[in-house]
């Protein structure tokens, strides 16, 4: 059975509608969302409403959390003062626009979703704010998948889709007893193949062009397809300006740049 995984919608209704249409055309009935339904984009209520109407199971993203909990991330979350100011303005605007019912919905979202050996998170099993980058140290990457007790870990947050296969993983442990009273105990564990699948971003692509991205995973064959879906970018750009969000968000989206720059140290996890 094929299922679709979407992530990082960022209140971009035009992009979400195009992606859902693409999924529907393929007859796929099971969709999972990895969070960040809101933030930066101009249609927070409309996007949350559509996800709820479609009954799409979602986990909570970092923006969803911040809208509910209040912005209390440390400054490290932003790569620059400019990005921080813009982020705060987008946060304030989104918090003002979202109705109480939708805020309660976002607050109810779990951090992790599981379906058998498939695990779904926004950033990593550790935090909605942690980036699992494609070139992350293999041992650390394997640790994240293993900790989640998953065969495939689906994540988002980076806005760049990828499939990473972790094979030939071996952990060798040697336990030395005090004073050498006994021979050192050794244990070696070989890990089966694990995969990390990043779904990219529906509403704020960062892969080099303006198309929304998501993934389709076929559980029977194991195949993962990264889908790119063109959508009416100008519709979203016009709405950004009309609702009073910073016009530069529209310019960045129109050119395939993310709304705000990514932190230099993307592996950093905010300790709040």
């Amino acid at each position: 059975m094929a299922h679709a995984v979407i992530s990082c919608l960022h209140a971009n209704l035009a992009a979400l509608e195009a992606v859902l249409s693409d999924i529907d055309q393929r007859g796929i009935k099971t969709i999972t969302c990895l969070g960040d339904l809101v933030g930066y984009g101009p249609h927070p209520n409309e996007v949350v409403n559509l996800v709820r109407e479609r009954g799409i199971p979602s986990c909570q993203g970092c923006w969803d959390e911040d809208i509910i909990e209040g912005l209390n991330a440390c400054e490290c979350s932003y790569p620059s003062q400019l990005a921080e100011r813009r982020g705060h303005r987008a946060h304030q605007w989104t918090a003002e626009q979202l109705n109480d019912d939708n805020k309660a919905f976002l607050a109810s979202l779990p951090m992790v979703l599981r379906r058998d050996r498939l695990v779904f998170v926004h950033g990593s099993p550790n935090s909605q704010h942690e980036y699992l980058l494609p070139d992350m140290d293999a041992f650390a990457a394997l640790e994240r998948v293993q900790t989640a007790d998953a065969d495939i870990l689906f994540c988002g947050h980076t806005h760049r889709p990828y499939v990473r296969e972790l094979r030939d993983g071996v952990i060798r442990v040697r336990v030395q007893t005090p004073m050498g009273s006994q021979p050192a105990a050794e244990r070696e564990t070989a890990w089966p193949v694990r995969r990390i699948v990043n779904a990219g971003s529906v509403g704020e692509p960062r892969h080099g062009n303006t198309h929304a991205t998501y993934v389709i995973h076929d559980e029977a064959t194991g195949n993962v397809e990264i889908r790119e879906v063109p959508y009416d970018v100008e519709r979203t750009c016009r709405a950004i300006v009309e609702v009073g969000l910073p016009p530069v968000f529209a310019w960045r989206l129109r050119h395939g740049f993310e709304y705000a720059e990514r932190a230099d140290d993307a592996s950093h996890v905010c300790e709040r």
């Binding site: 790569p79 620059s80 400019l82 990005a83 530069v248 310019w251 960045r252 720059e261 230099d264």
Partner: protein, 261 residues
């Protein structure tokens, strides 16, 4: 024997860079003057505000400022190389000194400067050719940024957006920008170039409050949005409190103002 050359050309053709190269190879004293230039139909001249002079003076500390009457009218050394920069959109009608724009002569005469040579970018093969563009319409906008200090990462983002069209079609941008650690950069971009230059100034300021050196942004292009540029600028500049927070640790290992290696 002293030499006085008039170097003219359109925005971003490399006048200042070429002049700097001449100063660096000239063994004797050097002097510099930047004339204002004249607007043409649909073409506005940038208000440089002393930006090029500030950069050249940093690179050549003994440079004579020929725009200063005291220095211009003083007896000149015999081997002085005086280079006069003139922004000029279109090539002169006449070759050599015959082609000098007559309107600049009163400015030169007031400073007792008489060019003995005139080179124009795009006309004279002695000058680089590759960056000479022919503009049909050009707005100019500039902003005094004296005493401002940038958040370095914000400067990087702002400059990226500026030269890639977030605030209008920018053909030419140059600036002197201060960083909290006392460094300053001459930022230089032209639409015909692949990338911006970020050239560090030699003279470092002490990390003790706001620097006194000239700081300025000069932009030329079409459909510029100065309101949006200024709004973004304000979000990139450091407040007194943040500046102090960043400079306090630097002061402990600070040595008196010096020139970078």
């Amino acid at each position: 024997m002293s030499q006085t050359w008039l170097i003219s050309g359109p925005p971003g053709c490399g006048k200042t860079s070429w002049i700097l190269e001449q100063f660096k190879v000239h063994r004797g004293p050097s002097g510099y003057l930047r004339l204002t230039g004249y607007p043409d139909e649909g073409l506005a001249q940038a208000r440089d505000g002393g930006l090029d002079l500030a950069y050249l003076s940093d690179q050549c500390p003994a440079l004579l400022d020929l725009g200063d009457p005291d220095q211009a009218l003083a007896p000149h050394p015999a081997d002085l190389l005086a280079l006069i920069e003139l922004p000029q959109f279109h090539p002169p009608a006449q070759p050599g000194l015959e082609g000098v724009d007559r309107r600049v002569l009163p400015q030169l005469q007031a400073l007792h400067l008489t060019p003995d040579r005139h080179l124009h970018f795009g006309r004279d093969s002695e000058l680089p050719q590759q960056d000479t563009l022919d503009f049909s319409h050009l707005q100019a906008w500039s902003l005094n940024l004296n005493t401002t200090v940038w958040d370095p990462d914000s400067l990087s983002s702002f400059w990226f957006e500026l030269v890639n069209g977030a605030y209008g079609d920018v053909y030419r941008a140059k600036a002197l920008m201060n960083l909290p650690d006392g460094r300053a950069f001459f930022c230089n971009w032209m639409v015909s170039q692949e990338a911006s230059q970020f050239l560090p100034l030699q003279l470092l300021s002490p990390p003790d409050g706001r620097p006194e050196r000239l700081s300025r942004l000069v932009v030329q292009g079409k459909d510029l949005d100065p309101v949006a540029i200024e709004a973004t600028l304000r979000e990139c500049l450091l407040s007194d409190a943040v500046l102090e927070l960043q400079q306090a640790p630097l002061r402990q290992r600070h040595t008196p103002p010096t020139r970078s290696a």
